[in-house]
Amino acid sequence: MLLLTTLLLPLAGAVGILIAHRTPDYREAVTLITASLIAVLVVEITSRYMAGEVFAMTLIEPMPGIAIAFEIEALGMLFALVAGLLWLVTSIYAIGYMRSQNEPNQTRFFAAFAVSIAATMGIAFSANLFTLFLFYELLTLATYPLVTHAGTPEAKRGGRVYLGILLGTSIGLFLLGILITWSLTGSVDFQHGGILAGHIDPAWAGLLYALFLFGVGKAAVMPFHRWLPAAMVAPTPVSALLHAVAVVKAGVFTLLKITIYIFGSDFILSNDVTGGLIWVAASTILIASLIAMTKDNLKARLAYSTVSQLSYIVLGAMLASKAGLIGASMHIAMHAFAKITLFFAAGAIYVASHKKLVSELNGLGRAMPITFAAFFIGTLSIIGLPPFGGMWSKWYLGLGAAETAQMSLLAVLMISSLLNIIYLLPIPIRAFFSKPESGQHYTEIAEAPKPILLAMIVTSTACVILFFYPDPFYQLASLAAGGS
């Protein structure tokens, strides 16, 4: 019952938001209360799950053998925990952001946001591929009005690319993969050790894996990554939570689930299913980093950085070794906290100064020290330096590559870290140490409104805390990877 509440609560919140559309204060109260309840709820469920309680339920069975069913396992718990906690922070941020920008259609915005969270929870807790696919599509549709929020021709174009790629890949490839899995095994359930072993000729398994790899467009593996930069026309809170955490992580989460519970890591390792495909992820890591270097628009640069970082997780999944899977799972959490901080900062900069380009940021650090300090912390965590949470996931990913004796992949990870330094670190450095173009220090620009600052402080502090105390995420990740 607790499990279903995590889905129904945001939906009820969305209804509440729609009802309270005349009084923004009540409407925002509904958002905050719902988000707080969800945060408490995911923490509670996590502690119960770790204590050994089993959560599983079947809602209905539309077709024989294919049910809408939920079950909590470690990986889904980790994902739900990240999304649930960050929704609260983002809600605070979003209220500050939307109000200071006087954005129109805020009711639609907050309602669609709540539905997106419900869909995310559905993905996290789904017990089979069908349920996962259902909520996966719901998430695409619920985020569409958020992407096109501005209603400008640019937003519409972005929305078209967004919907086109995400629906196109999911219907054309992902669904096909699910159907093939169903026709081979007669099951779509997630099971420990996978369900495909013994049902598929290992030679064809790679092809099926490729269907999933490219079909799960939300994982933004090249060449199906274009929707993510296109989605950056959305207001920043959307980019922060949905396009750095919920939507993209739903993609890589799906791939991890499929790797662990449909193919099974033993099957992948013993048959070298992902041997060639792993280079798709490796090249996405490098190419996206290179593209990020060329982007002057701050959000676009962050978007390509996300594309690159997502493929770390995809790479970890395809390594399929224990350390690789742990690294991939932990990177879901670690990258989430770091990247959301970066997006929060980008939004704060925009709210305070209306600057969107990296080249305009010179000297802004003195006017907005908290914002850029947070940005700096986020950057270091993304690069993977101690004492920040991002170090752990990179550590295990590297270990995974070393464990499977793929030194070239290890090299890719190292080069990518260098590239991260090159395209991210100059941003805070410019802001703190360069002079503004006019030669005068900014006097008219001050920090963004308090809710925005608060959100940034929380997430950047979390990046530090996660270095010293990665335990909950580590435990869940290693449970998911099949360890104890």
């Binding site: 539309p62 549709l141 519409k156 219907i171 159907l179 169903w182």
Partner: protein, 490 residues
């Protein structure tokens, strides 16, 4: 209750002339509403009886078949009859306001009379077990639908009704020629009877010829690509209510006749020995792709949906082409689900026409904000058409792709999924026009459609979701029906 099967045909048949002479006003509508509701209930009871007590055989006038006419109801036609009758019952509340606006007042009683005749014909086709009787009912439904289509507001309605009349008559004639040829060899018109006699004469060229004539005749009625040319015009210019009713029922009934002839009248293996399956697969693939692409380029919303219908018929034809239990199940399930989604879509478009009097792409800009409920209905029905999980359309696609995978028909798999993507494009175009384009001057005064239009529309919309989650009725019955048809490919 032994007479359910007969009553289903007789009640609308007898009421039709009565309605024609009723005084103007709302009385003709009220009587029609009662009759259609009654028919829907009877059809529901009939299906229940068939599922629980087995095949119903009703001898008309007590004349034993094969000499007399037999109404023979199994799961297949009980299912189709239920679709037809319930769509009629749901359409009728919607009809009141829409018809009052679109049809000249003095013709309203005649309109409802023709609608009842059309219903009689369609139900008759499903009920009868006699291939000549099918022809009779086919003509009853066709003639009345020519009249219904010609009542459209625009002058093109007349030419499109005429076009349909020509094509429809050719189709009916072909069917009749085929029936004649079969009769000349078997001496029987009763479907069951023919099925037992045919194996003895199956080597004769006349039988082949008869089979070919019948198939082509029905293919025209079914609007099977490339014989679909009458459909887009007919759907576009017919009054809104007629489009809703015909789109959701007429082609479905033709599809049923196709199934019946292919798998029951002609003996097992006969169809498989001919290239008819391959032709179906080719025609299905062609219509999915070509009609969907046509739909993308339409400027009139009704015509867009009409081309989409041709494409959706392609899915059903493809399902039959697989000639497997799963394939025919998919075709039957999609028959039901497509009635739900197209019914809802045409009702929503009819509601827009009710408000602004037209439905071209450039006239509906921004109306989604003015008519949120109608817009919501279009969005959900569109999702179902695309086949998003949680909607009825997904179930159809699931079974269809499963059927294709069973036979490793990879081209068909690709086409089915590609067709969904084309549906994303053309429905996306409609939704973008309704929602994102700036509202026109005249559009600013538009208000939401009246409840009487919204309620039936949303009944169908919710049915789209319900049958996406609970498929006991649709898939369950379709599977029984496919088993009844005794389809044989694995």
């Amino acid at each position: 209750m032994d007479h359910i099967s007969l009553l289903l045909v007789v009640i609308p048949l007898i009421t039709a002339p009565i309605v024609a002479v009723l005084p103007r006003g709302r009385l003709p509508w009220a009587v029609t509403l009662v009759v259609t509701t009654l028919c829907a209930l009877l059809a529901g009871m009939q299906l229940w009886t068939v599922l629980h007590e087995g095949v119903i055989s009703y001898e008309l006038g007590g004349w034993a078949p094969p000499w007399g006419i037999e109404y023979r109801i199994d799961a297949v036609n009980a299912f189709v009859a239920l679709i037809v009758a319930s769509i009629a019952a749901i359409t009728l509340p919607y009809a009141l306001l829409s018809v009052e606006q679109e049809i000249p007042e003095e013709k309203i009683p005649l309109f409802y009379s023709a609608l009842l005749l059309c219903l009689t014909g369609l139900l008759g086709i499903t009920q009868t077990g006699d291939i000549f009787n099918v022809f009779v009912f086919l003509e009853i439904s066709s003639l009345s639908s020519y009249a219904l289509i010609s009542l459209g507001k625009e002058r093109q309605a007349l030419t499109s009704a005429f076009q349909y009349l020509i094509m429809g008559t050719i189709g009916a004639t072909f069917y009749l020629i085929g029936v004649g040829l079969i009769y000349s060899q078997t001496g029987s018109l009763n479907m069951q009877d023919i099925a037992t006699i045919l194996p003895g004469v199956v080597h004769l060229k006349t039988v082949d010829t008869g089979f070919a004539f019948i198939m082509i005749g029905i293919a025209i009625k079914l609007a099977m690509f490339p014989l679909h040319l009458w459909l887009p015009n007919a759907y576009t210019y017919a009054p809104s209510v007629v489009t809703v009713f015909l789109a959701a029922t007429a082609t479905k009934v033709a599809l049923y006749v196709m199934l019946r002839i292919l798998f029951i009248v002609f003996p097992h293996g006969f169809a498989l020995a001919t290239p008819v399956e391959e032709l179906f697969i080719v025609a299905g693939i062609a219509s999915i792709i070509i009609a969907s692409i046509y739909a993308i380029y339409q400027e009139d919303v009704k015509r867009l949906l009409a081309y989409s219908s041709v494409a959706q018929i392609g899915y059903m034809v493809l399902g039959i082409g697989f000639a497997s239990a799963t394939g025919v199940t998919a075709a039957l399930v999609h028959m039901f689900n497509h009635a739900l989604m197209k019914g809802a879509l045409f009702m929503a478009v009819g509601a827009i026409i009710y408000r602004i009097g037209a439905c071209r792409m450039d006239q509906i800009h921004g109306l989604g904000r003015a008519m949120p409920w109608t817009f919501g209905a279009i969005v959900i029905a569109a999702l179902s058409l695309i086949g998003v999980p949680g909607t009825a359309g997904f179930i159809s696609k699931w079974y269809l792709v499963s059927a294709a995978l069973e036979q490793s028909a990879w081209i068909s798999v690709a086409v089915i999924l590609f067709g969904s993507l084309l549906a994303v494009v053309y429905m996306g175009k409609l939704i973008e026009a309704l929602y994102f384009k700036p509202i026109t001057e005249t559009g600013k005064e538009v208000t939401e459609a009246p409840l009487l239009l919204l309620a039936p529309m949303w009944t169908l919309v919710l049915a789209n979701i319900y049958f996406g989650l609970d498929t006991n009725l649709t898939v369950g019955v379709a599977e029984t029906a496919a088993a009844t048809l005794g389809v044989m490919k694995p």
